[in-house]
């Protein structure tokens, strides 16, 4: 589709762009103490964008001369991004970290990041892939280091910028090799060109695939590209930690699925021969080993943490591992499992981080000991925290169980060569029970029983907690509508 025609299908992104501009101008108008009001402009823009995404329907097309795909698959991830951005903006009102800073640009940068994530979810051209990844990365560097006077935040942004620039550079080199092999930048043309390559090209092809995997692995924080995650997650403002652990990960998975399905696949929409172009390497097994390593490392290190925030950072690595279990399959049910897991994970993880933000604001700490006796002092907050912890473990009747169930079902369904992977996944879920329940133990069994009960003072806090807790609980036993929606979103644009 030509550039001008494409604009008429590009409403969600255009609205987001206008939102960013409005937010920047609004930031100039408000005084420093009023700068939180910029958030409402951004929230309004996000609501309009959500409406536009829902309206854009299921028309499949390649916009802007075939660089951006419009399909239900991308729309699903756009909705995920919008939901998480909205929650993170609302959560920022309570953040103790941001007190004393001018926050107008914080909200506009969040909106730019959402725009980048939209592109990540729908890129079908390697130029757009790199562009989208860089938009998201550069904005996350800003946000990780937003607390200019805070040393931890500084350090987080330094580590992030070094790892981020390095891994996207390696990915770019891999993409340049792939461009040389295929002579094109479009996913579908690449697939056709790869199919015609002789065996001589195998080494270069594998090399480029490995380099590209570095870039994707960094975005979804897969082992062994996860080293930045704990430090960045711990040092960043907690609201940003929550955002980084959900939205870029979702978009990273979308991009990874689309790229490997379309460039290295056989052209069938999510068939079983997803890795045909690379059949000289045991590629699916390699990804399966990475998945097993990711969840095991994440879980084993999470056990040793004394800070709840850092524990959640490692646990988010483990969750990326669970989702990666379904990647080597590249089947319809595997991708379905990843999508449903991402949706469930969004609510429970944002919820857990929000409680961390809240406790940080009230008690001033984020270590396990700060949670002692929380169950008696703040019964409501401790109650929802318990729910989020149970859901993150993956126990019924919570949303976490449904997510895990679909992933494991897809892995088992793929055949006996993946049984070991499912086994590792189950063992890891049991390990994760230890450190999630440790939070609950500290809240209810440790510390003094206090008689004074404090409920959340602001209505907004209560509303956010309830809005995150209800899906976490309800999707555990009523999810047919969500399942239908995701099922309809499984349509990936497959070329002109």
């Amino acid at each position: 589709m030509s550039n001008l025609n494409s604009l008429t299908h590009f409403w969600p992104e255009l609205i987001l762009t206008v939102t960013v501009l409005v937010a920047i101008i609004a930031d100039l108008i408000y005084r420093k103490e009023d700068s939180f009001k910029v958030a409402w402009w951004v929230l309004g823009g996000l609501a309009l964008t959500l409406f536009a995404v829902r309206m854009s329907g299921g028309a499949l097309s390649g916009l802007f001369m075939g660089t951006i795909a419009m399909d239900p698959f991308a729309n699903f991830f756009k909705v995920l991004v919008l939901i998480s951005t909205t929650f993170v903006i609302l959560m920022s009102f309570d953040s103790a970290d941001l007190k004393g800073y001018r926050v107008g640009e914080y909200f506009s940068i969040l909106a730019i990041m959402a725009f980048g994530l939209f592109l990540m979810a729908s890129a079908i051209d390697v130029i757009m892939v790199y562009l989208a990844i860089e938009i998201v990365s550069i904005m996350s560097f800003f946000l990780a280091g937003y607390l200019k006077k805070n040393q931890s935040s500084n350090e987080a942004s330094l580590k992030y910028v070094i790892y981020g620039a390095f891994s996207s550079g390696i990915m770019l080199y891999g993409l340049s090799l792939l461009f040389g092999l295929t002579g094109t930048t479009k996913f579908f043309e690449m697939r056709e060109a790869i199919a015609q390559l002789g065996p001589d090209a195998n080494l270069a092809l594998i090399l480029s695939a490995v380099f590209i995997l570095v870039g994707f692995g960094y975005k979804i924080s897969a082992v062994p590209f996860h080293f930045w995650t704990p430090d960045v997650y711990e040092g960043s403002p907690t609201t940003i930690t929550a955002y980084l652990s959900v939205a870029p990960k979702a978009a990273g998975f979308a991009m990874l699925i689309r790229f490997f399905n379309q460039v290295f696949g056989d052209g069938a929409p999510l068939g079983s021969d997803a890795w045909t172009a690379l059949n000289n390497v045991p590629w699916p097994q390699l990804v399966a080993v990475l998945a097993a390593a990711t969840m095991t490392v994440g879980n084993l290190v999470a056990i040793q943490q004394s800070s709840v925030k850092r524990m959640l950072a490692y646990s988010s690595i483990a969750h990326a591992g669970y989702m990666m279990m379904a990647l080597p399959l590249m089947t319809q049910s595997g991708v379905y499992g990843i999508m449903i897991y991402l949706l469930m994970y969004l609510f429970m993880n944002l919820g857990a981080f929000y409680v961390v933000i809240y406790v940080q604001g009230k008690i001033g700490g984020e270590s396990f000991d700060d949670y002692n006796g929380l169950g008696w002092r703040m019964p409501f907050v401790a109650g929802v925290m318990t729910l989020f912890m149970v859901a993150l473990t993956g126990l019924p009747p919570t949303a976490g169980f449904i997510g895990k169930f679909y992933i494991f079902a897809a892995v088992i369904e793929a055949g006996s060569q993946y049984y070991w992977l499912a086994f590792v996944g189950v063992v890891n879920s049991v390990i994760s029970l230890y450190y999630y329940i440790r939070v609950v133990k500290h809240m209810y069994l440790s510390g003094d029983r206090s008689d004074s009960i404090s409920m959340p003072t602001s209505n907004l806090t209560t509303v956010i907690l309830i809005a995150l807790a209800i899906p976490t609980f309800v999707f555990g036993w009523y999810f047919s509508d969500v399942a239908d929606w995701i099922h309809n979103s499984l349509v990936i644009f497959q070329g002109m």
Binding site: Y130, N154, E155, S176, F179, G235
Partner: protein, 101 residues
């Protein structure tokens, strides 16, 4: 007459030097220079492929995009490093370690 493989060799050497720089340097700015080398290695590849492969303009366009994004990234990274220097009085990436390892 220079051939495609000599350009690719230059690219590969640049890439390796960049990799070496990122891994061994402890000065924040030097690490960034390593990253720039990696990006330029990719650029050399793109342009060489576009020139010798008889391909369309995509390679040139890609290189232009990379240059712009590398500039943006360098700007942000240098701003972060200046801020680090203000708070820590050093830009050695090993000494900047408040957070638990």
């Amino acid at each position: 007459m220079a051939s495609l493989s000599s350009y690719l060799l230059v690219g590969a050497v640049l890439f390796s030097l960049g990799l070496y720089g990122v891994v061994t340097r402890r000065n924040g700015v030097a690490v960034l220079m390593g990253v720039e080398l990696i990006l330029n290695a990719a650029n050399v590849n793109f342009l060489a492929f576009a020139r010798f492969g008889g391909m369309n303009m995509a390679g040139h366009v890609y290189a232009l995009f990379v240059i712009v994004l590398a500039a943006a990234e360098a700007a942000v990274a240098l701003a972060i490093i200046i801020n680090i220097f203000n708070n820590f009085n050093t830009i050695n990436v090993d000494e900047v370690s408040e957070l638990k390892q």
